[in-house]
């Protein structure tokens, strides 16, 4: 079974600074990778996903993530954050090997953007 590790429970950053939120997963077999964002008092919504093809994936709101198979990582980055990016970010991984595709979620990283 997959496990997903988001090492940072909280990442404080100043507005307009770059940010990287880390995600590592356990299995190196074929995987599908997702980042979801949860704004305060709202449901999770998809930021971006990797299914195949280019390892650099661009998502909404200026976020991007890079799939690194050898390091089993899918870190999320943004070159310049805004106050409105303050939210909880979840990495999720599902097996692409013909299973149920039900994703395993990480514990989440709280991004706190200070003015």
């Amino acid at each position: 079974a997959q496990s997903v590790t988001q090492l940072d429970s909280q990442v404080p950053v100043f507005e307009e600074a770059p940010v990287e939120l880390r995600c590592n997963y356990s299995s190196s077999v074929s995987v599908y990778l997702f980042w979801y964002v949860q704004y305060p008092n709202q449901g999770l919504q998809l930021l971006l996903k990797y299914l195949s093809g280019s390892t650099l994936v661009k998502g909404i709101n200026g976020f991007e993530a890079e799939f690194n198979k050898s390091q089993t990582s899918f870190h999320l980055r943004k070159p310049s954050v805004h106050i409105s990016d303050t939210a909880e970010y979840f990495c999720a991984v599902s097996d692409g090997g013909g299973g149920s595709y039900i994703p395993t979620f990480g514990r989440g990283t709280s991004l706190i953007v200070h003015p």
Binding site: G43, Q45, K49, F90, A92, S100, Y101, I102, P103
Partner: protein
């Protein structure tokens, strides 16, 4: 269009009582998922519906938990004889195509507090 809706948004109950949580998925979405999110934890998978059947109930934590779905639409998650450890946010998600790595659309959740 309308997203995934859940009701109630908040539920406070006494230990030992039964509760019923409701999820209305996006129209036309055949897959429906229930997750539990405890404070400071990631999303814990509970159960998955494909149409009205549940091929994967592996995440239900005990026989006090049950779920059903009717008309390939509304789903209810029932927790009998609630315990304090059941306190959490219960999230519902739906997706268009079951059995594939399709984007999940989440509802805002039901916050359950068991006193």
């Amino acid at each position: 269009g309308a997203g995934v809706s859940q009701s109630p948004s908040n539920k406070v109950t006494e230990k030992g009582k039964d509760v019923e949580l409701r999820c209305d998925p996006i129209s036309g979405h055949t897959a429906l998922y229930w997750y539990r999110q405890r404070l400071g934890q990631g999303l814990e998978f509970l159960i998955y519906f494909q149409g009205n059947s549940a091929p994967d109930k592996s995440g239900l934590p005990s026989d006090r938990f049950s779920a059903e779905r009717t008309g390939e639409s509304v789903s209810t998650l029932t927790i009998q004889r609630t315990q304090q450890e059941d306190s959490a946010v219960y999230l519902c998600a739906s997706s268009f195509a079951p059995g594939g790595p399709d984007t999940q659309y989440f509802g805002p959740g039901t916050r359950l507090t068991v006193l």
